[in-house]
Symmetry: C2
């Protein structure tokens, strides 16, 4: 699993914010939760539960895949993680950190991250904002990636 260049302090900040969030929600702070969250934000891609599991195992050698699944789901519910859009199987997660957007190829399912400044601060429609608590705003594109377009042209 590729890793990000997080500096130490940034990581610490995120972790303590996470612990506070857990406490707020009445969740206990367990080594497993810390490890899963840590692995998630350390990953630069959008790992599956399995991938997070493999990573976390390095520290907690006897954590179970179920716990990773359950924890990921929990993180998702408290807004500490998100399921990547347009997902097929297996589900892919995102630490929800820096602003970036996704492009997904409808043919091969590949997800390409990109960052486009103007999308960083989209305004939430008033109506929506009044009614719901918006935790995450994403712009999401779908279409054919370069590889699949190439393939297409060869076939047709």
């Amino acid at each position: 699993m590729p890793e990000k260049n997080h500096n130490e302090s940034e990581l610490e900040v995120k972790l303590s914010e996470f612990e506070i969030l857990c406490k707020t929600k009445g969740l206990k702070i367990t080594p497993q939760r810390i490890a899963v969250y840590r692995a998630l934000i350390a990953s630069s891609c959008h790992p599956t539960a399995e991938e997070v599991y493999q990573q976390v195992r390095r520290d907690l050698s006897n954590i179970s895949l179920d716990t990773v699944n359950r924890t990921l789901h929990t993180l998702t519910e408290i807004g500490a993680a998100f399921v990547v859009e347009g997902t097929g199987q297996p589900r892919r997660y995102d630490g929800g950190g820096e602003g970036h957007q996704h492009f997904r190829c409808i043919k091969c399912g590949r997800i390409v991250d990109f960052h486009y400044e103007p999308f960083d601060n989209i305004t939430v429609p008033e109506l929506l904002d009044r009614q719901f608590a918006v935790l995450r705003k994403t712009v999401y594109f779908e279409g054919l990636c370069d590889v699949c377009m190439g393939t297409k042209q060869l076939i047709n």
Copy 2:
């Protein structure tokens, strides 16, 4: 499955466009494909394969769920349908018609459609447009819906 107020001619146009698309991609025009596509665009929500199946059965009483699944997948590949973002199980599909956006509750998974003019014509970043064929642009929000916020407050 709730239905849209499509007028006849609009439906016809969509269907013939669909047939042309199929031909372009070298796909045969079968009653099953027509029926699935028809059911999909007639639905105002984001039906699951199962829901489409139930609908289609009214006309093609012995179509199989597998065919519906397979067809939905095919439509997805040719850009005639899309999988709704942030999907868990079961997958939900969208005919990709009118511009609208989605809000998804991270707690209960409910998907709320909304329409906000300014989001209708988002510009695709040049870099992306050069490299990929963007077929669909979506703004997608996640957070807590009114119901789940209410619940939350009662619990904590």
